[in-house]
Symmetry: C2
Subunit: 437 residues, 2 copies
């Protein structure tokens, strides 16, 4: 794929870091091979909107090849990196049961993070994650299927459990999901499923520590909680879920919540590819990097974003958020160009524009430049604007605006089409049927 | 579900006929129960656009509950009708392995048609149908997966077969699909998959009879063929596919076409529910109806659209097209209201506005009022307009316009995200890998 003299940069991961990095090499005398297991980039901050039927999956997915269709020096390879041979400067990529070795001159690991169950196998069995688009579709299909069935099976225990939603984790994803679930029921499900017209929904947001949005200032933490409660969400802090079953969850104080819908948003860990580098991993399975973002102890290998571990001047690890990945991508690109020219690498510095979390359709908290604190509608408008300017591609942006405006005005959502069926949804053997009438 | 005095109309099928029928009963003193196995209505004429990545699935799917959210007398039930007991005036509906009997006063069967393999089991094994949204997604995933893999496996036989597409059936669906596949390759796949940049695509449209678009006038048949050939499609009439395998198809003259992609658009037959009524079925498995659209020999049961068999004044069966279903729905609604009031039923008359078939992004043939014959861009514009005014729901219409405009200008398509993975796409057992490098 590369001509003999042009150096090849292999980038693993087409998230915000990987895409941003590859873009830096447009028109550079470099061959870039960008590898991802999906042929699309996911706009991850809006995954929860797909899960709660507010957006369609294609609104937050963008085919990677489209982004680089005019860039002859940037090649996309769909596959999973399963091994790294730093001695030979090769990565092994697997696709459809076929594996191949790909040579690199410079390697950048930007493979991101995955949901962290902290070793509790019950989480994977009984809870829905929200890290990937597939996760979102699974949760959406589950909820719609639950209500389609609830319109048939109107017996009490089913309806009670179907209207209890449990969200575990008081970070931005947990807050956003809890708010969106409350709105999904109040504005859509109750209108469209007549058997639920007299039900109330109970959304429980459960956080083990005493506060929501841990890194935020106290005023914003309190505002987030108050805004959620004003919507109707029941916020439970200082308690953990200790038991999972098909019928619900049990808290550490013995409380049992009867539910069929549990969302796990309690934390992330690095993608397991980090373990293939042969270096000792840092907290959360992250790859330790030097301030230049070169992987500690390796030659010509860099890591950035959620999968990399670097501490700031206060000894705190950089947060696993998009702006860190984007700014690190810029630094890595410059340091690779410097290395090619024999120039010294420079260290990463972070410009923190602040953080935001949204709570439903009109509420949010924002902490701009870590100074200005905004709450309510103003914060929500700022969040909306930020997402739109960050969204990749004009067309996706137009779609999202239309979807949002339409949702906002009508609470209509095409996202409710139940397209992915459980395979045994309509049994061929009628003998297996339980007759209820 | 129904109060004791209000009669209940059960409608099976939420296609154009079923939706149109239910709408007639808005504000009427009737309870309507509309049943479909999907919770969405499919805009079936555009399914081929989803299959060829021109539209997203949600653009052509509309949640049924949204259509009737303001109509308290119209209830939607998601499920499959598996039995009809006309003696007891009941249908048995199955959903998630649970079945229930639903009472009716009047029953309308509008369950539509399915792909017809004419008893050839190889069709289902080796060819893709285009009757449902799931069909379309399966074909789309197949094509994108083929090209993702082709960027890896650049050996010759693979590339040759990947660039051969075979479409069987010279009706509107076959023409539309053949044209769309040719454009998909020329404008999208070849741009984005560098390993295919020097390939040509060969789209074969195979029709057993001597003409395309059988019921159309000769001039339009000839124009359709000429327009397809001008695009690059190879039209083969007067030949049948007699053999299918994983490596390709064999024609009745012994010709072998090496291909991984075969689309079956050679005909439809009535949904198998027709067989549950206990009446002798007409040609194509269709339910014979009286000119009033009452099912011959049954009381208070009607059938309409693709699943019903009725001959026009010339002794020809009505075509299985949307306008017939819509106009029959109107007649059935009136005849049910008449029956409730003890008035006599009236017979169905059809107002034929004509037919159209599109061939790619700028070409079509149209036969307006069975008199005016249009070809080329003018026919295409007419086709576009007709589809937009018929599309259910303002939002879907806006989406489709944006998607189309964008596709037309840029040949971009978000529809290429490979979301539904074959389950063994990334094997967990690395031992199973064939190493090719």
């Amino acid at each position: 794929m590369s001509s003999s003299n042009t150096p090849t940069v292999v980038v693993v991961g087409a998230g915000f870091g990987g895409i941003f990095l590859a873009r830096q090499f447009r028109k550079a005398a470099v061959n870039v091979i960008l590898i991802d297991r999906n042929n699309y980039h996911t706009f991850s901050p809006l995954i929860y909107q797909v899960a709660t039927a507010g957006l369609n999956p294609q609104d937050v997915a963008y085919p990677v090849r489209s982004i680089f269709v005019r860039d002859d020096n940037i090649e996309f390879l769909r596959g999973e990196v399963i091994a790294v041979a730093t001695d030979n400067k090769q990565v092994q990529v697997c696709h459809n049961e076929v594996a191949q070795w790909v040579d690199y001159d410079y390697l950048v690991i930007a493979a991101g993070a995955q949901s962290n169950d902290f070793g509790n196998a019950e989480v994977g069995r009984f809870a829905y994650s929200l890290k990937t688009l597939e996760d979102a579709l699974a949760l959406r299909s589950h909820i719609i299927g639950l209500y389609e069935r609830g319109n048939w099976d109107t017996r009490d225990p089913y309806h009670e459990a179907a209207t209890n939603f449990v969200v575990i984790g008081g970070g931005p994803t947990g807050l956003e999901t809890a708010g969106a679930l409350q709105e999904l029921f109040d504005n859509v499900l109750r209108q469209e499923y007549s058997a639920f017209r007299d039900n109330q929904v109970n959304v429980y947001l459960i956080e083990a520590t005493d506060v929501l949005l841990r890194p935020y200032p106290e005023r914003l933490q309190a505002s987030a909680k108050q805004q959620l409660e004003a919507m109707g969400v029941e916020v439970i802090t200082g308690h953990m879920v200790t038991g999972f079953s098909e019928e619900g969850v049990t808290l550490d104080d013995g409380r049992f919540i009867h539910t069929y819908t549990v969302v796990w948003a309690a934390g992330v860990k690095a993608e397991s590819l980090a373990g293939q580098l042969g270096v000792e991993l840092a907290r959360g399975g992250r790859i330790p990097v030097e301030p230049t973002l070169a992987v500690t102890g390796l030659d010509s290998v860099y890591a950035l974003g959620d999968i990399a571990y670097l501490e700031d001047e206060n000894g705190q690890p950089y947060a696993q958020v998009i702006p860190v990945a984007q700014q690190q991508a810029k630094r890595v690109a410059k340091n690779i160009m410097a290395a090619m020219h024999g120039d010294p690498a420079e260290t990463f510095t972070y410009f923190d524009k602040g953080s935001m979390a949204t709570i439903g359709r009109r509420r949010a908290v924002a902490w701009v430049f870590n100074r200005l604190q905004m709450t309510g509608f103003l914060a929500w408008a700022a969040w909306l604007w930020l997402h739109l300017v960050t969204l990749l591609g004009f067309r996706n942006r137009v779609m999202v605006v239309i979807n949002w405006t339409w949702n906002y005005l009508r609470y209509y959502s095409g996202g409710r089409t139940l397209l992915i069926e459980p395979p045994d949804d309509v049994p061929e053997q009628i003998e297996r049927l339980k007759l209820i009438d």
